[in-house]
């Protein structure tokens, strides 16, 4: 990487990371390629499918269309920031318990989006969950399991 590439700090999962990249670089590329955080997936690249969802200041963001210059100084949380394989976060655990995955490609987005919903509405209704997940696409058809997992996560948060 040339020395002319600007260097900047990103705050990811509670710690600061120095990255060298053009300010227009999509956040997803930095997360996956530079920081080796592979929870967020590359799907459509246009912010349409939701597989790349991360949290920026607790709000869902489609990281494939968010350039890093827009998130400098903000708190970024990826799937890895919600828990570890040993101790998964409550939403992650609910998805494991309900076997939410078929291929699993969309699950990062599903989990992060539910997390964002819980951040602002601790006790959402089923209707609110459906509304929230409306634009997260799943092509395997595990919608039933995903809804069950989301409801379980809400149930456990009470």
């Amino acid at each position: 990487m040339s020395s002319k590439t600007p260097s900047t700090f990103l705050n990811v999962n509670g710690s600061a990371h120095q990255v060298q990249a053009e300010p227009d670089t999509p956040l997803l590329y930095i997360l996956r390629n530079d920081l080796e955080l592979n929870g967020p997936k590359f799907g459509c690249g246009l912010g349409e499918c939701g597989a790349c969802t991360v949290l920026v200041d607790g709000v869902a963001a489609r990281s494939c269309v968010v350039p890093i210059k827009n998130v400098i100084g903000h708190e970024i949380t990826t799937l890895e920031g919600l828990g570890s394989p040993e101790v998964p976060g409550p939403v992650q655990q609910a998805f494991i318990d309900k076997q939410g995955a078929q291929c699993g490609y969309c699950l990062n987005g599903m989990i992060m989006t539910i997390q964002a919903l819980l951040n602002r509405t601790p006790h959402p209704t089923e209707q609110q969950i459906r509304q929230e997940l409306k634009y997260n696409l799943c092509r395997c058809g595990t919608h039933m399991e995903i809804m069950e997992a989301a409801l379980l996560a809400v149930e456990r948060s009470r």
């Binding site: 939701g50 200041d57 709000v59 827009n70 929230e132 634009y135």
Partner: protein, 982 residues
């Protein structure tokens, strides 16, 4: 720990979990909707009352957690601040003004203050005057975070009295005081009292951490930015007068002077020196605690306490305690001077006679002797110099323990009657503060520094010519006023005990304003009842004197001569070269001039056109597409070879005003010299100073090659003759300074019309009735009409224009994109007052007819229609929209995402006659928004073909602008715009 001790406990170091504010990822954001008329009467809220409130559509905005309504307090909680602001705009509410006399009083006072009252006593028994004081807000927008959890409420904010805030919030949130903690957020120079109370209420409501930031636009109503103080005096009954005459009073003066000031009872209207938070007032909580702040002791103002006046309602402003005390001292001291002078009595002698306080008396005498004060008889206003006296005695309760401060000022001024310029020639300041060990300023201050402090306190009250070309805000930067620095004499008393040198308490500056106002009156007979004392007003008032018409005639003649000369010059096809300079001496330019030039350059967006993408600032080379060919911008850095380093000011000015290169060539009118000609001389000089002191960059710009006949530059001489008026902006005397300032910026440096006005076949701006800012095209984008031809579904107002220009986004219109984004970025350099002026002027071009529907109701109706439009649901574009756009722009629901989510139903571009801007955004997205936090939009040029784009565009038009005809020729337009820049 007692409650008191808790509030004063030192803040533990960062890292302590209890005291670190909640992380940003868990924060919700709150905004509050304030009533249009915010008033209180010293005890309770008396402003507008909410009526017919409907928050349904506000609740539907994605990301909104709740809308909180408590009495007249309306707050919106959402996961992002922008969503909360958007939702607030959708709250439908009517505000009723209770028609009580108490409510009417302040507005009448307001108009009365604007029109000066006759300066005489109407009857011999009653005098009434009204004074106003401008209220400065905090230095920055204050913010607060409140977190209510587990029965405890923690608040992070900045305010001067956390103990009071704590008690008030406990009351407001119905909590025990021990459950409330106020923690400093480290934001210096902000007043976070009100936002803290707002945040506390909202967090208490939803049980999650809520952040509230002070809203700059909401509190900018004129009523809330100045404070009115009314003073009146009435003749006391004979009996009371005799009883009240001090025995020690020497009788000889009485016969000479007739009725004296103390024959009047004075009731300077008092307000509680501290008001509760706005949230508490709106919720209906009445003030419980004793007012604490800076108090005027009983007896400071003679006889004032003997007469009580029912408190009238006053506007609730963002008032720090200090300005309330300053306002009261200004009102009391000016009023005292007015009374004394109308009664032929010397203000100092009268004061000494009436004052019981020996400390004050001795201080006043010392100052009087030091300043060599002679008995002041009433002036006719013919003298050019004058002296004024003012005195203050306050109890400063903000100190621990409370501290008394006495201060007396004598100001001497000399006034230039032609220009109205006030020169402060001398200041004599006496100061006595007890309890020196508690003073904020170390006692060992040097005299020089104190003198400087006195000068600063005094000179900031004066204002030079505040015309349309004054660059507001940064007075320090551009100050060419006052003319000279005053001589300062200090008299300090009561400080001998410590023997550590001079001490100073900022409260000693309280009488400054009144002393200067009284001195100006002494010199001119003109009474200022509101600071700052500006030379323009003084000049206008003095101009009533005979002889002043000469200057006006001269100005008119000069203007005509300049016009004629301009025409003659423009008609000459060839112009001579102005000899290059080997080097320009830039050392003669002051930092103030360079700073001013920086603002002119920012207003003119020089850098936007004169910088090629990724290139060095102002080094030129950017291609501008015109209907006649591509024009490349030039290097305007002071490089001698390739830039303007060899240009004298004469050459620079000729280029700016007449469009002629230093070497005599005509410049193409893509360079908007037609607008720049309106820039005033001072600004032009400053701009030159700024550009010539920047870093030179050696970079030769590509040559511009246009097709015949436009490549023959002398042809342009004819163009200039036809279309160019080389005239500096002349203010419209019928309009306000703000309007003229806006017009000057828009028509001059800002050259808005260059893009936003239609052009004729020869590329000149048309000049028909509605042509000025009637909409144009630039760089493949439509620059929408800013006048009555505007196609915006909701009419632009001053406030929405201000929001749009300041933040790049208006929730009722959309974001600044395309070539407008860098304009907003460049304008970020300008002070708020200038952006406000531009918004004010532009909104005046677009007169709105007040309808039954408020903007919020319009917005809700438009969005509702777009949700339930049956024509859209069966349109073939629905699938495309659902797949590509809806995740961010769905008006029917969906998750709130990071960044702004402009409502398409309110978007001006979708309502425009031409689809160009929508096509631009769909193809290329918004990669470089005006402000990063607005978020990006990806371009769909690579993932959708022209047919799909056409279907989508037609769908967008049907769904979001159903009352507009379908766009035609979409295919061709898409093809053309796709190929621009490729």
């Amino acid at each position: 720990m007692t409650p008191q001790a808790a509030a004063h406990a030192p803040i533990p170091s960062i890292g302590s979990n209890d005291l670190a504010p909640p992380p940003a990822s868990t924060l919700l954001h709150g905004v509050v909707l304030r009533p249009p008329s915010l008033l209180w009467d010293g005890v309770r809220y008396t402003g507008s009352i909410q009526h017919n409130l409907d928050v349904t559509s506000a609740r539907q905005v994605p990301g909104v957690v709740d809308v909180v309504v408590m009495n007249n307090f309306i707050g919106v909680i959402a996961s992002q601040a922008r969503q909360a602001v958007h939702a607030r705009a959708q709250v439908q509410v009517q505000w009723l003004d209770a028609a009580t006399p108490a409510l009417q009083a302040p507005s009448m006072e307001h108009t009365a203050a604007a029109a000066p009252r006759p300066n005489s006593i109407s009857s011999d028994s009653h005098v009434e005057r009204s004074y106003s004081w401008p209220q400065a807000g905090g230095l920055m927008q204050a913010w607060a975070i409140a977190h209510y959890a587990g029965g405890r409420l923690n608040i992070w904010t900045t305010c001067s009295r956390p103990d009071l805030l704590r008690a008030e919030i406990a009351l407001l949130c119905e909590l025990d005081i021990s459950a409330v903690a106020i923690i400093s957020n480290g934001q210096a120079g902000a007043h976070g009292y009100d936002v803290a109370a707002d945040a506390a209420l909202l967090s208490r409501w939803c049980g999650q951490p809520v952040r509230v930031q002070e809203d700059s636009s909401a509190e900018r109503t004129p009523a809330a930015t100045e404070l009115q103080i009314r003073a009146d005096a009435g003749l006391r009954p004979e009996q009371a007068r005799e009883a009240a005459t001090p025995a020690s009073q020497s009788g000889n003066a009485e016969d000479r002077m007739g009725p004296r000031a103390y024959d009047y009872t004075v009731a300077a209207q008092r307000y509680n020196l501290r008001r509760p938070s706005i949230a508490a007032l709106l919720c209906g909580c009445e003030q419980q605690a004793q007012p604490v702040g800076i108090a005027l002791p009983a007896g400071y103002y003679p006889a004032a306490t003997q007469h009580t006046v029912a408190p009238a309602s006053v506007p609730i402003g963002a008032t720090p305690d200090e300005s309330l005390a300053a306002a009261q001292v200004f009102a009391c001291e000016s009023f005292f001077d007015e009374l004394s002078r109308t009664q032929n009595s010397d203000p100092i002698e009268t004061r000494l006679a009436l004052l019981d306080d020996p400390t004050g008396q001795s201080l006043i005498r010392a100052v009087r002797d030091k300043a060599n004060w002679q008995h002041r008889t009433p002036r006719t206003g013919s003298a050019a110099t004058g002296k004024g006296f003012a005195y203050a005695h306050v109890i400063d309760n903000t100190q621990e323990p409370a501290q008394q401060v006495w201060s007396a000022w004598i100001a001497e001024v000399s006034v230039d009657k032609n220009s109205g310029l006030v020169d402060l020639t001398s200041l004599t300041v006496g100061h006595n503060a007890e309890a020196l060990q508690n003073m904020q300023t170390p006692a060992a201050e040097g005299t020089e520094r104190l003198e400087q402090q006195v000068r600063d306190a005094a000179t900031k009250l004066l204002r030079g010519p505040d015309g349309f070309d004054s660059w507001g805000g940064d007075k320090q930067d551009t100050a060419d006023y006052p003319l000279s620095l005053p001589k300062v004499e200090l008299v300090t008393q009561g400080q001998g005990a410590l023997n550590t040198g001079l001490g100073w308490n900022p409260r000693a500056e309280l009488p400054a304003a009144a002393a200067i106002a009284n001195a100006i009156y002494d010199a001119t007979g003109v009474r200022f009842r509101q600071p700052p004392f500006d030379s323009e007003t003084l000049k206008t008032k003095l101009a009533a004197a005979p002889g002043s018409y000469k200057k006006l005639a001269y100005t008119l003649l000069g203007g005509i001569a300049a016009t004629v000369a301009g025409l003659v010059v423009s008609a000459m096809p060839w112009r001579s070269a102005i000899a290059p300079l080997a080097s320009v001496d830039t050392s003669i330019y002051s930092q103030a001039a360079i700073n001013r030039g920086r603002l002119v350059a920012a207003a003119g967006d020089c850098i936007v056109c004169h910088t090629v993408e990724g290139g060095q600032d102002n080094a030129g080379g950017r291609p501008l597409e015109t209907p006649f060919g591509t024009v490349y911008t030039t290097n305007i850095t002071p490089d001698v070879k390739t830039g303007i380093g060899a240009w004298s000011f004469a050459a620079f000015e000729r280029a700016m005003r007449e469009g002629i290169h230093r070497d005599g060539r005509k410049l193409y009118p893509a360079f908007p010299y037609t607008a720049f000609a309106k820039i005033t001389d001072t600004d032009m000089q400053a701009l030159y100073a700024y550009l010539m002191t920047q870093k030179p960059v050696e970079a030769a710009a590509p040559k511009t090659k246009l097709a015949f006949p436009f490549n023959i530059r002398p042809v342009l001489a004819g163009w200039n003759l036809l279309f160019h008026r080389n005239e500096v902006y002349t203010p419209d005397p019928a309009q306000s300074t703000l309007w003229n300032r806006g017009a000057y910026l828009v028509q001059g440096a800002g050259h808005c019309a260059a893009c936003h006005s239609p052009r004729n076949a020869l590329g000149a701006e048309k000049n028909g009735k509605n042509d000025f800012l009637g909409g144009g095209f630039a760089d493949g984008w439509e620059a929408p009409a800013l006048n009555t031809l505007s196609k915006a579904p909701i009419a632009w107002t001053e406030d929405t224009l201000y929001d749009y220009l300041r933040t790049g986004y208006s929730s009722l219109h959309g974001v600044a994109a395309g070539p407008m984004a860098p304009v907003v970025q460049s304008m970020a350099e300008l002070p708020d007052s200038d952006v406000r002026a531009v918004a004010h002027y532009l909104s005046s071009l677009n007169p709105t007819v007040p309808g039954v529907e408020t903007p919020a109701m319009q917005a809700a109706r438009l969005e509702d229609n777009s949700r339930n439009n049956p024509a859209a649901m069966t349109h073939p574009g629905e699938n495309l929209f659902e797949g590509a756009c809806a995740v961010c722009h769905d008006a029917r629901g969906g998750p709130p995402l990071f960044g702004s989510r402009p409502s398409l139903a309110l978007n001006s571009n979708l309502h425009s006659d031409s689809p160009d801007n929508v096509i631009q955004v769909l193809l290329h997205g918004i990669e470089d928004p005006a402000v990063n936090s607005l978020g990006n939009m990806p371009g769909f040029g690579a993932s959708m073909n022209n047919q799909q784009l056409e279907t989508l565009l037609s769908y967008l038009r049907v769904r979001f602008a159903p009352d507009k005809p379908a766009w035609t020729d979409l295919g061709k337009k898409i093809e053309t715009i796709r190929n621009i820049g490729h």
